[in-house]
Structures are given as structure tokens and as C-alpha cells.
């Protein structure tokens, strides 16, 4: 992602300037005068991060650093994302999450693009993410960049409400042996073994293996759910310097998990019934990626990335396989003294199969489908003056469902002073429809029908337009005092062609000799929405040993069916994401070897789902016993015994209680 690099560099320049300015308000003359011996006696108070980058200047970006990750005590990506403002993370069951940015939360939220090292982990069939397959050892994550707002110009379709960019460490940074073992009160165990070393004289590699098991949680009724799960994974990464200007990275992973869930199954009867049944969820997935980067003497660069990823999964009555091959080329060049141009080409081919796992549950028109996606983008950052820059660009793509689409954006950044900048952006993004939108046919729910007992709602896909977003944002970020920084964003988002479920005329079908009332529903694109909101985050370094940060997110959604729509419940989806989220985090170094972290987060009620607002308190105490060994104890959800975070109304998985738990973890590097 050279675009990211380029823009990152731009922001980095500003940020470094802030940072340096903040930390050294005067030239440290005392250091200039110090002798070698005196220099060697100086105690280093704040160790600089090796890399600190923000993705884009004219966008709302929150970076979760390796230090944040290590100190959070979180053992999975969803829990890490809870610290980012504007992100809604809700756990449904021990292996199921609803995660989105700026609303439209769902078990398979489809408006956020998730990437690992530039590889998309979005599942084409239903445009969502299997979060349980996103299992990267936290020790190997360099940082997570959470970009709120559309990223279609650079990342393409599906980067509608935001982008979550997980960047893993270069193999050069993970040399040595690493063993971690953790165990928790809910019988959650996890072990990681990793070895990293030199790959010849010009590079480095790492290889790792991980095993975990997680116990089942409880249903609202108090009885145990069937969501216990376990998994094993292995992976490697190698980074090589081919010449002074070329680098090559190759990485791959394979994982297999098996578990289950208490999910709803619909039996046609007649009479039709919806039953909570315990179903297996078995998944295995793998990927292999190579990335070559060439840097020219003048600082411009070219990259080529190729990967293949595959998943096989059985879940709630569906057996799904998906295999994607993807090639991306990017070039970044300076044109004249005012223009920085990034352009790229990409091609992706995906082969999907879906088949019913049980005879009555689910069907698709074609058992196998191959989709191609071709795209090109160009973006130019134009320096309009000493302190103002304008970035304009667009993605152009051709997808198998809606044909040609374009996703333009413009960002204006005013570097107001050395320590503060103001930005404005306007963009269009789309969510490319998927196979579920167009081709599926499955029993969706059972509704009581007076005089008939019950009717079965059967949903069918149909051709319709891509969901579209036009988004306007205004942001401000500043280092208001040497130790205090603030980042504020407001947004106004207009959505069109949002997916609706249009009821058709009920009919009676004979099943054997008994009549079954079928209420057909067809996916369409007849809703629109106007959302607005704001996110405010601030960091205060109270002292060298104590950092405090806080965030507030407001989200106001108003979703309406179009005049020709008969979807009577679409307006209620505004209730699937909390209106307010408030959080505070404290990172305190009790001594050189002991860290204590705590975070508290309030999430307001999900009115439609009857989920009450809750407060979550997480804490971690870490002790570096020596340079090789670290022991940590973490507590999660300490405020209340148990709470619920999300009810999957659309109905696949039953929600389970999120309970209080404690972990102990031992990390050994040698």
C-alpha cells in the first residue's frame, strides 16, 4: 500500500515535528556539551517508537500501537478494537462478534473493510468477516490502523464506513524464541511458540504455531450455550532485502478451528417451527502472500503484491468455500514540485461454492460461482500553498454484480500551525452486492399468522443496485500542549440503495398433504439513511510514567424506507448500534518493571434489541521479571457479573452472556 506509505510519510512528517517540538522545546544544549561519559550516564526516559504512522492526513485515523496491544491484555482482535473511538464491538457468543464502524452493526456487518498487511479478509459471499478466523498472535502485530469513514478511493468497494488495517511486524523485529502461555478462569487456554532468525545475510524470518481452546458461555436462560471452540494455527513470514532498493516479503498462515453455536434452525413442518439447535461451526482457512517493493533514488516507489486465500466453513446450515487470487500493483511518483501521484491496478478472482448442509435449509441458484473484480485508482496530492494541500482521486472498478462503479474523494488539509491541522473531506463509496444479496433462497423466520397458525418467511436474493454512501467530514487534530493532544471529527453521511427485504404475496404450498403458508421476501435496495456523529479522542501524558486517554463517540442514525418500499422494520436498524460510547484508559508504569493498565468503557443501550447500556472495566498488571520473562494478570468485565452486548435479531446465533473473567499470561523470550 504505497498510497498509505506516501500519505503516512506526509502525516509522519507533521507528527514527528509535533513530537520533537513537544519533547524538546529548546535545543538540548546540555546534551551537545556533554562528554561521551556523561552521555552514557543519561537515563532514557521515553523510548521512541521505531515507526509511527497514520494512514491519511485528511481522514479520521486511530492507531492502536504494539504498546497499546501489549498493555491491553486483550487476547483477540475484537477486544483490541474496543479501544478505538467510533468502532462498535459487541460480542454475541464466544466465537461470534458484531463489529462495525459508524453504525449498521450486524453479525456479518458488511460496511467495513478489514485488511491484514494489505490482504483483504472480507468474505465475498456475504460481504462480512469471520472474526473467529482473524486470529493473529498479538505479539506479532506492529499496529492496527482504524480509519473511520469511507476509504473507497484507495481500497475500493466495501470500504464504506471504515477500514481496519492490521499490520504485522517485519520478521526483522521478531528475531529470537518466543513462548507464551495463558490460562483463564473460563477455561480459556492459549499457547504460542515462535522462532525468528536470520534468513541468510540479507533478511529475516519467523515461524510460529498456536493452539487455543475457549469454553462455552451461557445463554440468557442460564443454560450452557454450545459455543465452546478450539483451534490450531501455524504461520511464517520472511522479509528479504534483494538489492539496496528492492525488498521481498513472503508470508503465509493456515488455521483450523472447530466449535459450535446455539443457532436457530427453521423446520418447514408444516406447521413451520423455529428451533434453537446446537450446530457445529467448523472452519479452516489459509493464505499465502508475496509482496515486492522497489524504491527509486528520488524516493518514489513501486510495489507488486500477489496473494491467494482460501476458506472452508460449515455454519448454520451452510457449507461454504471461497478461494480468492488477488494481484495488486501500485506506483507512487512525484510530478513536478507540487504533485504526489499514486496510482494502481488490481485484479481479483474469487471462486465460491455454497451448499446446504441440511436438506431443507438453504439453496443458491448456482452451486459454484466465479467472480472477477478489476479496478484502477489514481490519487493526487496537490500542494496548494505552504500549509494547504488538496488530495483528489477515484477508484474505478468493474464487479460481477453491478458492473462499473466509481468512488471519488477529495480531502483538503490545512496545516494551521506546526501543531494543529484542520481537514475536510467529501467522498463517495459503495458496497458491492454479494451472492447473498442476489442469489440465495432460504427460510428466514416463522411468523404467527391469524387463522393459519404460522407462516414461513422465505427470503430470496434479487438483482439490485449497490449500496451507496456520500460522506462529508470535518476534522481537527492538535497538540494543544506539550503533553496533551486532541483529535476531533464530525461526519454527515447520506446512504442510498440500502438493502431492504420486500414482502411478496403469501401463497400456500402443499408439503405432502399439509398446507404450508409461505411468505416470500425479496432483497431489494429501497431504503436510505442520513447519519451524523462525532468522535473525540484525547491523550494526556500526565508524566513520563503515566498516560491517560479518553474518547467519546456519538452516532445518530436515521434510516427510512423509500416510498415504494414495504419493509416495515428497516427503520429499526438504527437501534443496532449504540448512540453514545465513552471510554477512558490509563497506562501507568508503577516501576521500571511493573505496568498497570485499566480501561473503562460505557456503551449506551441498543433500544431495539432490548440490550441495556453497560459499563465494561478491563485491567492488566504486567511484571517483567527479567529481560526474558514477563508475567501478566488481566481481568475483563469486572464491573458486573454478566451482561449482554448484542442480540442477533436477523437471527442466526443466540446471544450469550459476556461474563467476568481473569487471565494469567506468561511470556518468555530467549
Amino acid at each position: 500500500m504505497n498510497v498509505v506509505r506516501l500519505l503516512a510519510l506526509m502525516v509522519l512528517l507533521c507528527v514527528t515535528r509535533f513530537a520533537v517540538h513537544a519533547q524538546t522545546p529548546v535545543p538540548p544544549k546540555n546534551i551537545a556539551a556533554a562528554s561521551l561519559e556523561e552521555l552514557m550516564d543519561i537515563e532514557v526516559t521515553s523510548v521512541s517508537k521505531k515507526e509511527q504512522t497514520l494512514s491519511r492526513a485528511g481522514a479520521a485515523v486511530f492507531v492502536i500501537s504494539q504498546e497499546d496491544i501489549r498493555r491491553s491484555g486483550a487476547s483477540n482482535i475484537p477486544d483490541l478494537l474496543r479501544m478505538a473511538p467510533g468502532v462498535q464491538v459487541a460480542q454475541i457468543a464466544s466465537n461470534q462478534w458484531a463489529i462495525t464502524i459508524r453504525g449498521f452493526n450486524n453479525l456479518y456487518s458488511n460496511k467495513v473493510l478489514v485488511l491484514i498487511d494489505g490482504r483483504t479478509v472480507y468474505i465475498n459471499s456475504f460481504a462480512g468477516v469471520f472474526w473467529d478466523q482473524l486470529d493473529i498472535p498479538p505479539e506479532n502485530i506492529e499496529r492496527i490502523e482504524v480509519i473511520r469513514g469511507p476509504g473507497g478511493t484507495v481500497w475500493g468497494a466495501n470500504a464504506v464506513n471504515g477500514v481496519i488495517n492490521i499490520i504485522t511486524k517485519s520478521a526483522a523485529d521478531t528475531k529470537g524464541r518466543l513462548v507464551t502461555a495463558s490460562s483463564g478462569t473460563r477455561e480459556t487456554n492459549s499457547t504460542l511458540v515462535q522462532y525468528g532468525g536470520a534468513a541468510g545475510s540479507r533478511g529475516a524470518f519467523r515461524a510460529f504455531g498456536k493452539y487455543f481452546d475457549i469454553n462455552k458461555s451461557t445463554l440468557p436462560s442460564g443454560s450452557p450455550a454450545a459455543d465452546g471452540w478450539r483451534g490450531a494455527m501455524g504461520g511464517f513470514r520472511t522479509d528479504l532485502g534483494l538489492t539496496s532498493q528492492d525488498t521481498l516479503s513472503i508470508q503465509g498462515e493456515y488455521r483450523a478451528t472447530n466449535g459450535g453455536g446455539t443457532a436457530r434452525a427453521i423446520l418447514p413442518g408444516p406447521p413451520p417451527v423455529a428451533l434453537a439447535t446446537n450446530q457445529p461451526i467448523d472452519s479452516d482457512s489459509g493464505d499465502l502472500m508475496a509482496r515486492w517493493e522497489h524504491t527509486y533514488t528520488d524516493g518514489s516507489s513501486t510495489s507488486l503484491q500477489v496473494y491467494d486465500s482460501a476458506i472452508r466453513r460449515t455454519e448454520s446450515g451452510i457449507r461454504l468455500t471461497e478461494n480468492s487470487a488477488d494481484v495488486e500493483f501500485e506506483n507512487h511518483i512525484g510530478v513536478g514540485s507540487r504533485n504526489d501521484v499514486v496510482w494502481g491496478l488490481a485484479f481479483r478472482s474469487t471462486r465460491e461454492t455454497e451448499s446446504p448442509n441440511t436438506p431443507y435449509a438453504f439453496s443458491v441458484l448456482r452451486p459454484v460461482r466465479v467472480d472477477n473484480l478489476a479496478s484502477a485508482f489514481v490519487q493526487d496530492e496537490i500542494r496548494l500553498g505552504k500549509s494547504v494541500s488538496l488530495t483528489v482521486g477515484s477508484k474505478f472498478e468493474r464487479n460481477a454484480y453491478t458492473g462499473f462503479e466509481f468512488e471519488p474523494s477529495a480531502q483538503l488539509v490545512w496545516q494551521r500551525t506546526e501543531k494543529s491541522s484542520l481537514w475536510f473531506s467529501a467522498s463517495r463509496a459503495i458496497r458491492q452486492p454479494d451472492r447473498f444479496d442476489f442469489e440465495v433462497n432460504f427460510p428466514y423466520s416463522v411468523v404467527p399468522v391469524p387463522g393459519f397458525g404460522a407462516g414461513m418467511v422465505v427470503v430470496s436474493g434479487a438483482k439490485h443496485a449497490a449500496e451507496q454512501l456520500r460522506d462529508f467530514e470535518l476534522g481537527y487534530r492538535a497538540q494543544v500542549a506539550p503533553r496533551l493532544s486532541v483529535d476531533a471529527t464530525t461526519f454527515l453521511s447520506y446512504y442510498e440503495h440500502l438493502q431492504t427485504l420486500e414482502p411478496g404475496a403469501p401463497f400456500v404450498r402443499l408439503v405432502g398433504a399439509s398446507p404450508l403458508l409461505v411468505i416470500p421476501g425479496t432483497f431489494s435496495d429501497k431504503a436510505h439513511a442520513r447519519n451524523f456523529g462525532a468522535e473525540l479522542s484525547t491523550t494526556w501524558k500526565a508524566s513520563e510514567a503515566w498516560k491517560l486517554s479518553g474518547a467519546y463517540s456519538l452516532l445518530s442514525m436515521s434510516v427510512h424506507p423509500n416510498a415504494d418500499s414495504h419493509d416495515s422494520v428497516i427503520a429499526t436498524i438504527r437501534g443496532d448500534a449504540p448512540r453514545h460510547q465513552i471510554q477512558a484508559r490509563s497506562a501507568l508504569n508503577l516501576s521500571k518493571r511493573v505496568d498497570w493498565d485499566a480501561s473503562i468503557k460505557y456503551v449506551s443501550a441498543l433500544s431495539v434489541q432490548n440490550i441495556a447500556g453497560y459499563v465494561r472495566l478491563d485491567t492488566r498488571l504486567g511484571w517483567r521479571i527479567n529481560d526474558a520473562l514477563e508475567l501478566s494478570i488481566s481481568g475483563q468485565n469486572l464491573t458486573v457479573g454478566k451482561h449482554f452486548e448484542y442480540v442477533d435479531i436477523s437471527g442466526l446465533f443466540l446471544n450469550t452472556a459476556v461474563t467476568r473473567q481473569a487471565f494469567a499470561k506468561l511470556t518468555w523470550r530467549f
Binding site: A19, T24, A172
Partner: protein, 180 residues
């Protein structure tokens, strides 16, 4: 004595209307200290006579790759001189621009390219400095590393000799290998 000096500096800064850095000398940020080493090295390294065009030509300190110092290195170098020579800081994006560099700091952002970079300046009288664990092994002359929160310097005497650089015994005396 030290307290009075501090008050003096503080007073001067207040007069200039600048915020004062109140931290004692015993504490500083990582790259402030590392920049301190870089501007101190010229006093302890002797380059071959023909590496400078004139007796008053400045000592060039070059930074290759991502610059972790911000403006600190330049401001430190600005107030410093070694004999008749001043110090000058240059930012490079490619090792081929290193002609004329007397000290070359190779940023950790370049770690995959260390071998190529160091090979390119192998026979040149350039005092190469890094702050990555494999910098010496790849052929670098000096490496800055951290031990219990303090910066240490490791010197590769063989590499320095091959480059016709003479390192003062005072620098050699404080140098310490990263893994003893």
C-alpha cells in the same frame, strides 16, 4: 554549581520567551541522547587527511532512511565545532548520495538493506553508525544500543581499520559489545 547553571539557562530561556526544558541532564529522550553521540563522534575519530577538501571543511553527518531525530540532530550540530571544522547534517534517501559523508547514520528503517548500504561504502572513509542489533554483524562501524535505559556504543575496530579510520582510545575505552 550545577543548580546555578540551570537557573542561568532557565533565565536565559525565559528572556527569550521560550518554554524551558526543566528535565535534569540525567534524563533525556532516546534520540536526543543518540544525537548527542553523533555530534560527539567527530572528536574521537580521525579521518585520512585526504577525506576533507580543506582544513576548515565541515564534518558531514548524514542520515540515511527515516530520520528519527527530528530537528534535534541539526540543532545539536549547529552549536558544535571540532577544531576548525563545523558540523553539517544532511538527509539522504539513497546510499549513492553518500559521497562526502564523514559520518553516516543508517536508520533502522533500512535494516533490510544494511548489507547493500554498508557494502557501498565499504572502502570509503565513512564512520557508519546504526542503532539496530545486527548492524555490526553486517559490517557497520558503530552501533548504539540500550542497556537498562542507558545508551551504549559498540565499535567494530576491524571495520574501522579497513576504512582507514583511527578511533581514539577514549572512545574505545567506553565502547562495549552488545552481547558481552
Amino acid at each position: 554549581m550545577r543548580a546555578r547553571l540551570h537557573i542561568g539557562i532557565l533565565g536565559g530561556l525565559l528572556l527569550l520567551g521560550l518554554p524551558a526544558d526543566l528535565r535534569p541532564l540525567e534524563q533525556a529522550d532516546e534520540y536526543e541522547v543518540k544525537a548527542g553521540f553523533l555530534v560527539n563522534f567527530p572528536s574521537f575519530v580521525e579521518w585520512p587527511a585526504d577525506s576533507f577538501p580543506s582544513p576548515t571543511a565541515p564534518v558531514n553527518i548524514c542520515v540515511l532512511g527515516r530520520n528519527p531525530f527530528g530537528k534535534t540532530l541539526e540543532s545539536l550540530a549547529g552549536g558544535k565545532a571540532v577544531g576548525a571544522r563545523t558540523l553539517r547534517v544532511r538527509q539522504l534517501s539513497d546510499v549513492r548520495q553518500a559521497t562526502g559523508c564523514d559520518i553516516l547514520f543508517v536508520s533502522s528503517s533500512e535494516r533490510l538493506r544494511f548489507r547493500f548500504i554498508l557494502d557501498a561504502v565499504k572502502d570509503a572513509p565513512v564512520f557508519t553508525v546504526g542503532d539496530s542489533s545486527d548492524f555490526i554483524a553486517q559490517g557497520g562501524v558503530a552501533n548504539l544500543w540500550m542497556e537498562k535505559g542507558k545508551i551504549r556504543v559498540e565499535i567494530n575496530a576491524e571495520a574501522a581499520k579497513a576504512k582507514n579510520l583511527r578511533i581514539s582510545s577514549r572512545l574505545m575505552a567506553v565502547a562495549k559489545p552488545e552481547r558481552p
